[in-house]
Amino acid sequence: MALLTVENLRTTFRTDDGPVGAVDGVSLSVDAGKVLGIVGESGCGKSAMSLSIMGLLPKTATVEGSIRLGERELVGLPAGELRTLRGDDMAMIFQDPMTSLNPVMTIGWQLIEAVRLHQKVSKAEARQRAIEGLAAVGIPSPEDRLRSYPMELSGGMRQRVMIAMALLNRPRLLIADEPTTALDVTTQAQILELMRDLRSEVDAAIVLITHDLGVVAELCDEVAVMYAGRIVERATVDELFAHPQHPYTWGLLASLPGRNLASERLHQIPGTPPSLLRPPAGCRFAPRCPFAMDVCRADPAPALTATGRGTAAVACHLTQDVRDREGARHSGEEQA
C-alpha cells in the first residue's frame, strides 16, 4: 500500500504574463520505508511538486489532481487541517540550511516550537525531545546547542538541525528538497550517510528531490526523472542505471562526474529547458533531443508507458530498440 499517491498533479502559477504550468500531470507513489528520488534540472517542477504536496505554495498557485497521504486526500483540504499535518505526518527538509533556520531564534526555540506545535507536551518534555532529536542526527553536546543561534553553526550542522527538526514528530512522509546541494563535498557525504542511517530507523516514505543522480544512486529505491513539469522516465534505481530509456536521462547520466572520463570534461545537455509559460508542443525535450523526430514535435506528447522491465516506464517516441541501444551506451554498466 503506497503511503503517498500523487495522481495527475497539475500545479499552475498565475503570473503577470499568464499561467505557468510548473507541474503538468504528474503521477507517482511511494511506499512507507522507501525512498523515491525525483531528478531533473532546476526549474523542471520538482520543487513545485514537493511544495504542492506540503501545501506550501503561495496563493498564486493552483493545484489540481490528487495527492493522497495514506487514505487522506490533500488536494482541497482546508488550510487549517493541512497545517496540522505539516510538520507532523509530513515533514520537509530544504535546500539551504543557511537561510532555512530563523536567524534570531535559538536552535532550541525552533526545535521546541516544532514539537509543541503538534504535541501537547510540557516545555521540559519538548526540550528533552529536542535534545534527543539533535543527538539522533549526530550533533555533539546537544544540550549546549539548544542555546546556539543558527549563525553559530556550520552549514552541515544546520542541515542536521533541519533534519532533526523534520523528524521530531516522526513523520510518515519526509520530503527532502536538495538536502545536500548547498553543502560542500565532505559535508554532503556526511549528510547523505546520515540520511541513509536514518532511513532505516524512521520507516517513513521519503521523497528525495535532487538534480544529482549520484545522490539518487546512494539513497533511493526508485527514481522518477522530471523534465519541464512532466515525468519522462520512472524506474527502480538499479533499472534506471542499468537501462536508462529516455534521451534526457542519458544526458543526465552523461553529466555525472566521473562518468565521462574519456572526454575529460563534464558533459552538458545542449540548450536550456523550455519556458513553462509557453511550452513546446509534443515532447518537451524534443528541442534539445539529438534523436528528435517529427512526431516528437507534434501533439500529443508521448505518454508514460511501461518498458516491460519491472515497474519501469518511459515517455518517448523512440522505439524500444533504439532506446535500449542508446541507453546501453549511457548505462552505469558500460561506463563502469
Binding site: R86, T99, P103, Y149, E152, M165
Partner: protein
C-alpha cells in the same frame, strides 16, 4: 558587549564634538564673514554707536578670538561656567539665582535664563508630543503594514498605499492647519493651542492628541511603507517557509517569525526618528503653539540667540547619538548576528 558599548559611546562623543564645532563655526565666524551679522550689533539696540556695540560684545563674551570662545564653550559644557563668566553674566545675583541665568550650555542672549533651564523646560513638551505621536504611529502603521504585506495587491493593500502617498505628500504644517481649522476651530473638539503638564494627565493628553496625531499621520505613512516592504521581504524568506513546513499557524508565522525579523530595520529607523523628533518637531510645535525644543529653536534663531540655538542643536545631537546607541543595543538584543559579530 562592553567593548561594543564603549566603542559606540566614544564614537558618539566624537560626533558631538564635531557637531559643537560645526555649530560654533556656523553661528560665529560664518555668520560674521558671510553675512556680516554680529549678534552684538543686534543686541546693542537701534542705531548703536561703535562703543555700545563693543560693550555689548564684551558683555556677551563675543570679544575674544573664536578659538578661545570655542574652547571655553567645550570647557563649560564639561566643567560648568567659570567664576569669571558668572561675574559677567550675573553680577549681584546669588549663586542660586546665577544658576538660573547661566548653565553648562551658557546663558541665553534673548532671555534672562540659562540655556539649560530653557531646554529642560521645553524638553518635556517635545518628549510628550513625540511619545504620544510615536505610540500612535506605531499602533496605526504596524498593523496596516503587516496586513498590507500578507495581502499584497488586495484592496486593503491598495488603500494603504494611497494612505502612504497622502501621508507623505501632505506637508505637516498644511495638514496641521487643516486639522486645527476643522477639529479645533470649527468643531472645537480639541484646544486650539498650548500644552498642559502631565500632572493633569487628562488635560495633557487632550492638548497633545491633535498635534501628536498630525505628526503621527506623517510618520505612520512612512512606517506603513517600511513595515509592508520589510514584511514582504521576510515573508519570502526560507525560514518562514520552514516555519510553515513545521505546521505553524499564520498568526504565529507573521508575528513570531516574520515580524520578529522585519522589526530590526524598523527599530533602527524608529530610534533615529525618535532621536530627531526629540530634538524638536519644529513645524508641529510652532503650528500648535507647543513650547517644545523646536519652538524654542525657532524663537532663538529669530532673535539670533546664539547660545540657545547652539544649545538646542547640541542637545539634539546628544539625543540622536544616544538614540543611536540605544538602537544599537536594542538591535543587538533582538538580533544575535549583531550581538555575536
Amino acid at each position: 558587549m562592553i567593548r561594543f558599548l564603549v566603542r559606540r559611546i566614544l564614537g558618539g562623543i566624537f560626533v558631538v564634538l564635531v557637531v559643537t564645532l560645526a555649530v560654533f563655526v556656523l553661528f560665529g565666524p560664518v555668520l560674521r564673514w558671510h553675512s556680516n551679522i554680529s549678534p552684538a550689533r543686534l543686541y546693542a539696540g537701534k542705531n548703536p554707536t561703535p562703543a555700545q556695540i563693543e560693550r555689548v560684545s564684551a558683555l556677551l563674551g563675543l570679544d575674544k578670538p573664536y578659538y578661545v570662545q570655542y574652547a571655553y564653550t567645550l570647557q563649560r559644557l564639561v566643567l560648568g561656567p567659570t567664576q569669571e563668566e558668572r561675574d559677567r553674566v550675573c553680577p549681584g545675583s546669588t549663586a542660586a539665582e546665577c544658576d538660573q541665568l547661566l548653565g553648562r550650555f551658557g546663558s541665553s542672549f534673548a532671555k534672562q535664563r540659562s540655556v539649560d533651564s530653557l531646554i529642560w523646560e521645553a524638553f518635556p513638551v517635545t518628549l510628550s508630543l513625540t511619545l504620544i505621536a510615536a505610540v500612535l504611529w506605531l499602533l496605526i502603521s504596524i498593523p496596516i503594514g503587516i496586513i498590507a504585506a500578507i495581502r499584497p495587491r488586495s484592496i486593503f493593500d491598495r488603500v494603504s498605499i494611497v494612505f502612504v502617498l497622502i501621508g507623505q505628500s501632505l506637508p505637516v504644517y498644511y495638514f496641521g492647519l487643516l486639522a486645527l481649522y476643522f477639529l479645533a476651530y470649527k468643531y472645537q473638539l480639541f484646544p486650539l493651542s498650548g500644552y498642559e503638564p502631565l500632572s493633569d494627565p487628562g488635560q495633557w493628553l487632550y492638548h497633545l492628541l491633535l498635534p501628536a496625531s498630525v505628526l503621527a499621520l506623517q510618520f505612520a505613512a512612512i512606517y506603513v511603507r517600511i513595515t509592508r516592504s520589510q514584511m514582504l521581504d521576510t515573508l519570502s524568506e526560507d525560514y518562514v517557509r520552514t516555519a510553515r513546513a513545521k505546521g505553524a499557524g499564520e498568526t504565529r508565522i507573521i508575528i513570531r517569525h516574520a515580524f520578529r525579523n522585519a522589526m530590526l530595520p524598523i527599530v533602527t529607523m524608529f530610534g533615529l526618528d525618535l532621536g530627531l523628533l526629540l530634538g524638536g518637531a519644529i513645524l508641529i510645535e510652532v503650528t500648535f503653539g507647543l513650547q517644545g525644543l523646536g519652538w524654542l529653536a525657532v524663537e532663538a534663531a529669530k532673535r539670533l540667540d546664539v547660545p540657545t540655538t547652539a544649545g538646542i542643536v547640541l542637545f539634539s545631537a546628544i539625543l540622536i547619538v544616544a538614540a543611536n546607541i540605544v538602537v544599537d543595543l536594542i538591535n543587538a538584543s533582538l538580533d544575535p548576528r549583531i550581538r555575536l559579530e
